[in-house]
C-alpha cells in the first residue's frame, strides 16, 4: 500500500508553476467545455476582499478567461465587505438569500454549500477571503489539475511554511491544528489520507458532481469531512494537491484553535461512528506519518510510535513482596 501511496504523491502533487501557461490552460478548458465558478465565502473581510476580487477578476476573467463566474457569498458582514467586493465587480450574495426554504445557518460551510446551488460552474473553486498575498496562482493552481485530468475530482492547496533549518531539511505541513490533531488522527485511522499535506487548507477546487453528493458541516469540520467522505466514496485517487508557495494570513489564538479542534473532532468522530469504526475499533496503527521537504521535494516520513505501557505497580510481584517485607 505504501508503494501505491508514494506513487500517488508523485502523480497527484503539483506545483502552481506547472500551470504557468494560462493561454494553454484556457484552451484546454474550452476544449472540454468546462465552466468554472469561483466562490469566496466572507464575513467582515473589508481589508482583504478588495484586493482578492480586483486581482483574480482582472487576471482570470478579463486577461485570461479561465473563470466564468465570480461570486462572494457573505454571512452578514457588518463592515464594508459587500460594498468593496461589488465595487470591483464580484457577484455578491447573502447566504441567507440562497435557498431560503432550508433556513439560514451561520458558518463558512453554509456559504460553501449554498454556492453549489447558486453557482453554475462544472467546477467550483473556493478561496478564503483573508489571504493578504493573493495571486492568480491561488485559483489556477487548483483548477488546472481538474482541467487536465478527468479522474481527479477534488484538489487541495498546500503552502510553504517559511521555516528554515541549516540542514536544508525542514518539516512541512499545516498549522498547529493539522500537526497536533489531524495528522495523528489520520495516521491512526486513515493512513492513506495522511498523504494530503495540508488537510485543513481553506482553498480547494472540486467538480460539482462530487460536491453535490457530500454533506457540508457548516463550521470548522467542513474540510475534514470532505476528505473523509470523498475518500470513503472514491479512494485516494480522486484527490490531488497543489503547492501554492506562500500564503500570508491572520494568525489565530490558541483559544480559537482549541474551539476549531473541538469542531473538527465532532465531525471526525461522527464519521468514525457512521463507518462503524467507533463501535468495533480496529487495531490502531502505530505509524505516525508526516512530511519533510528537501530541495523542493516533499517526502513522507513514517515513524513507528508504539506507546508501550506498564501495569499498575501494585500488580508487580516484586513490588508487593518488597512492600510486604518492609
Amino acid at each position: 500500500m505504501n508503494k501505491i501511496n508514494e506513487n500517488w504523491l508523485e502523480r497527484n502533487t503539483f506545483h502552481h508553476a506547472d500551470f504557468w501557461d494560462l493561454i494553454k490552460l484556457v484552451e484546454e478548458k474550452e476544449k472540454k467545455g468546462l465552466k468554472i465558478s469561483l466562490c469566496i465565502p466572507t464575513l467582515n473581510e473589508e481589508k482583504t476582499i478588495g484586493k482578492e476580487v480586483l486581482i483574480l477578476r482582472s487576471e482570470l476573467m478579463e486577461r485570461y478567461p479561465l473563470i466564468d463566474e465570480f461570486a462572494v457569498i457573505d454571512s452578514g458582514s457588518m463592515d464594508k465587505t459587500l460594498e468593496v467586493a461589488k465595487n470591483y465587480g464580484a457577484d455578491v450574495y447573502l447566504a441567507s438569500d440562497i435557498l431560503p426554504e432550508v433556513g439560514d445557518k451561520r458558518g463558512k460551510g453554509e456559504n460553501l454549500w449554498k454556492a453549489i446551488h447558486q453557482l453554475k460552474g462544472d467546477i467550483i473553486c473556493y478561496v478564503d477571503a483573508d489571504i493578504s498575498n493573493i495571486h492568480p496562482r491561488f485559483v489556477y493552481g487548483l483548477v488546472a489539475p481538474l482541467i487536465h485530468r478527468d479522474e481527479i475530482s477534488y484538489v487541495k492547496a498546500f503552502y510553504d511554511r517559511p521555516l528554515n533549518y541549516s540542514s536544508g531539511l525542514r518539516p512541512s505541513g499545516g498549522g498547529r491544528v493539522t500537526e497536533i490533531l489531524i495528522r495523528p488522527l489520520f495516521s491512526l485511522f486513515f493512513p492513506e489520507l495522511s498523504h494530503i499535506i495540508q488537510p485543513l487548507s481553506g482553498e480547494y477546487a472540486a467538480r460539482r458532481e462530487v460536491l453535490e453528493k457530500i454533506p457540508f458541516p457548516i463550521g470548522y469540520g467542513v474540510e475534514t469531512s470532505h476528505l473523509l467522505d470523498l475518500y470513503a466514496m472514491h479512494g485516494l485517487e480522486t484527490f490531488a494537491q497543489t503547492d501554492l508557495d506562500r500564503r500570508v494570513h491572520r494568525n489565530q489564538t490558541t483559544n480559537a484553535l482549541g474551539k476549531m479542534s473541538f469542531g473538527i473532532l465532532q465531525t471526525f468522530f461522527n464519521r468514525l461512528h457512521a463507518q462503524g469504526k467507533l463501535d468495533r475499533m480496529p487495531d490502531l496503527e502505530t505509524f505516525y506519518r508526516r512530511f519533510e521537504v528537501e530541495e523542493g521535494k516533499y517526502h513522507q516520513v513514517v515513524q513507528e510510535v508504539i506507546e508501550e505501557e506498564r501495569p499498575p505497580m501494585i500488580e508487580v510481584e516484586g513490588y508487593r513482596n518488597r512492600m510486604a517485607s518492609s
Binding site: K47, G50, K51, L54, I55, R57, S58, E62, V84, N133
Partner: protein, 395 residues
Amino acid sequence: METQEIDRETALSGLLDQIPERVKTISEKRDSFLTDTVLLGEIPSPTYGEDERIRAVVDRFRENGLSSPTIDEFGNASAHLPGTEGQSSILVMAHADSVFSQEVRHEIQVGSDHMRGPGIADNALGLAAMIALPRLLDDLGIQLRDDLILVANSRSLGRANLEGASGFLETMSIPARAGICVEGSTLGRLSYSGLGTLRGEITLQVPSDYDWKRFGASGAISHVTGLINQIREIPIPKEPKTQLVFGGLRCGSSFNTSPKQGTLRFEITSEDNDIIGQMEDQLNEICEQFSAETGTLVSMEVVAKRQNCSIPFTHPLVKTTRSIMQEAGITPKVDPSTGDLNALILSGLPAVTLGLTTVENLREINETVQLDPLYAGMTQLVTLIQAIDQGICDS
C-alpha cells in the same frame, strides 16, 4: 509658420475635446493597471535590488503584446510599441526602485476608493501606468505614428544617482522626440526642469585611541549634534532658491552606551550650480575643522551630484501639458525635479515629469493613493503622448 501654429491649435483642441470621454473610458478599464500596481508593488524593489520587479515588468510587456522586451546592463526593462510610421519615438519612463528595503512587508490594501502600502505611489503606480499604455491606447482606439519606447528604469533613487536612466539614454539607439517621466505622486505635478543637487553622507568616528579625559570629550551623538549646529550656520540664499535638507541620521543602538560612530545624510538643492559648489567647499571645511578640534575622524562622501537643467516654460511641450491639465480639471503645480527628468533633459531631450493622483503619507509605510483622481491623471498622460505624436509639442 502661422499656418503651422493654427494647425497645432486645431489638433490640440481636437485632443482636448476628447478628454472627458477618455476619463470615463479609462476609469472603466482600470482593473488591469490597478492589478499591476498591486502585483508589482508587492515585490520589494530597493535601489540595486530591483531584479525581481524588473522581471515581472518584462513578463507584463510580453503579455501586453510587446515583442522582444529586454533587460539592459543597467537593469532597466524596456520595450517598443511600433508606430505606423516609426520615424521617431516617444520615451515614457517610470522608475522601478523604491525607498523601502527588502525587509519591509510589502503588502498593499485595496479599498473602494484608495490603495495603501509602502511604495505604492513612488512608484508602483507610475510603473503600472507606463506598462498599461499599449492596452489603454488600444482600448481608446489610438494608433501612434511614432514608436513608443517604454522603460522601467532601475537604480534611480538615492546613491544610484540616476544610473539606470542615464545608462539607458547613453545607449538608446532610436532618436526620441520627447520624454515623459511618470510618477504616482502627485496629480498636478509639472516638472520641466531638473534641480541642481548634491547628496552627501558625513561620517563621524570616535577613534579607538580617543582621549576621553580631554576637555569637551563625548560620544558620537554629541559630536554629530555639534557638527549639525555648525552646518546650520552656513548662510543659505533665498535667491537663487537653495535648500539644505538633513534627510537621515544614524547613531547609537542602546540606552546606556556612547556610540562611536554617527552618519548624517543630507541633500543640497539649488537653482545655481555655483552655490552648490560653494556649499560643498564649506561643508568640507567644517568637517576638516571639526575633526581637528574634537579629535574625531570626520569624512564627507558625495553620493550623487547633478547639474541644473531645464527646458523653457514656454516650450510647446510644457505649454501643451498645461493646456491638457487644465482641460482635465488638474491644477498644474510647477515643481523642479531631482529625479530621472534631469537625465532626460541633460541628454538633450525635451521632457516633463507628470504625477498621476493625490497621495497621502508619501514614502511612509502607509503610503496611500486615491483612485478617483487617478483617471484624470492617466488621461493627461495618454493625451500628452498623443499630442507629442502629432507634433504639437515640437519646438
